[in-house]
Symmetry: C2
Subunit: 196 residues, 2 copies
DNA sequence: GGTTTTACATACCAATGGTATGTGGTGGGT
DNA sequence: ACCCACCACATACCATTGGTATGTAAAACC
């Protein structure tokens, strides 16, 4: 039986993450089977547990990649908007990206739904990979510096704004949709504008 | 071995729900063992599966009871506030109760964290037991009737307001707390007031 | 008072996440 | 060029899990 080189190992790992992401999205974390993931990749459990010591660690990897992707896109959007217009628009651009991710099925199932249950309260908040929180808080803090919102409300507002975006994403995923993406974004802007 | 009467069966069922609630809160749904719950009550699995066809059904019962308790308290507070002052204060009183529940450990773990993962998107939204959503939406709809918020934003705002309260509850439970309950109230009221 | 139904207990099952161990190939050191 | 440690898997196995099938004594009903 052909044993693989280090380069192949990296590919195996990537395949594993891709297969896991698919299973976690489609079946949910609990229903996603380690055996099924291995079958998808074409390896055995021994290989999987060689790359990831536990199912939770595999999930964490998938979770982190989604968060990093969201972070990158949000930062890029915010930076572009800031150079084109003003920092306030930049903040809204970041929120728009966040809202876009909150409507994605994989992001919903993995990050928003199973994430808290699998990683726990600690994992959710203590992890410095919770980039959504950091970005939103940075945005609100900037608004405070500009005098748009009160300084002492920054933390509380940031938490609530991020949660509002999460909930909006859920609402958009509901079938049949009682609200549209445009309506949500409109309402969100109205809410943020009211903070002045 | 003494077989129980129907009155004892009711007690067994209640004991089962109480033990399950404790386990679900302390261990989380996945880690909570059916065997442990049975051991707590002093019965066997046969009895448990006689009362609840599946672990999920047992969880649903615990989940529903929490939702009903929250609903009752929120309605009572809103009704009292409305008779004392105005409908706007009544809405805030209801939100205050919701926020209080969102800081409770059992409500967080069972309803907010494990709830979506166990019951799924369908169970979360399609269930007519999601009283939190219904109450918040009713409150916002009333504000719209009074001209405080735009009519076409009712649904979107309701979802975001409820999620904002959820997130605020989590933040308040975080150790060490980066925000206080008063600060959250203050920020929440400022956000809602801005909607006019 | 005999029959049905209720409220459990007992025994068992397939599947799960995880572990312990085996093994062939690869790469670095000399 | 050779050796050997290590890497990347495979194989075999395990305890525990949620769930089922069946048994059974007591209660409820006609």
């Amino acid at each position: 039986m052909a044993k693989r080189s280090r380069l192949d190992a990296k590919k195996t790992r990537e395949d594993l993450i891709a297969a896991a992401a698919k299973q976690f999205e489609q079946q949910g974390y609990a229903a996603a089977s380690i055996n099924d993931i291995c079958k998808d990749v074409g390896i055995t459990k021994g290989a999987l547990f060689h790359h990831f010591p536990t199912k939770r660690d595999l999930f964490l990897e998938v979770w982190t990649r989604l968060q990093v992707a969201m972070d990158a896109e949000a930062r890029a959007a915010a930076i572009e908007a800031r150079s084109l217009t003003d920092p306030y628009s930049a903040f809204l651009a970041g929120c728009r990206v966040y809202l876009k991710f909150a409507t994605r099925r994989d992001y919903q199932k993995i990050v928003l739904i199973d994430g808290p249950a699998v990683l726990g309260l600690q994992g959710w908040y203590e992890s410095d990979h919770d980039l959504g929180t950091q970005n939103v808080e940075a945005g609100v803090r900037y608004l405070a510096k500009k005098g748009i919102v009160a300084e002492h409300r920054v933390s509380a507002l940031a938490v609530m704004i991020q949660s509002a975006l999460n909930g909006a994403g859920f609402a958009l995923a509901r079938q049949p949709a009682s609200v549209t993406a445009d309506a949500v974004y409109d309402a969100f802007e109205a809410m943020v504008k009211g903070l002045r």
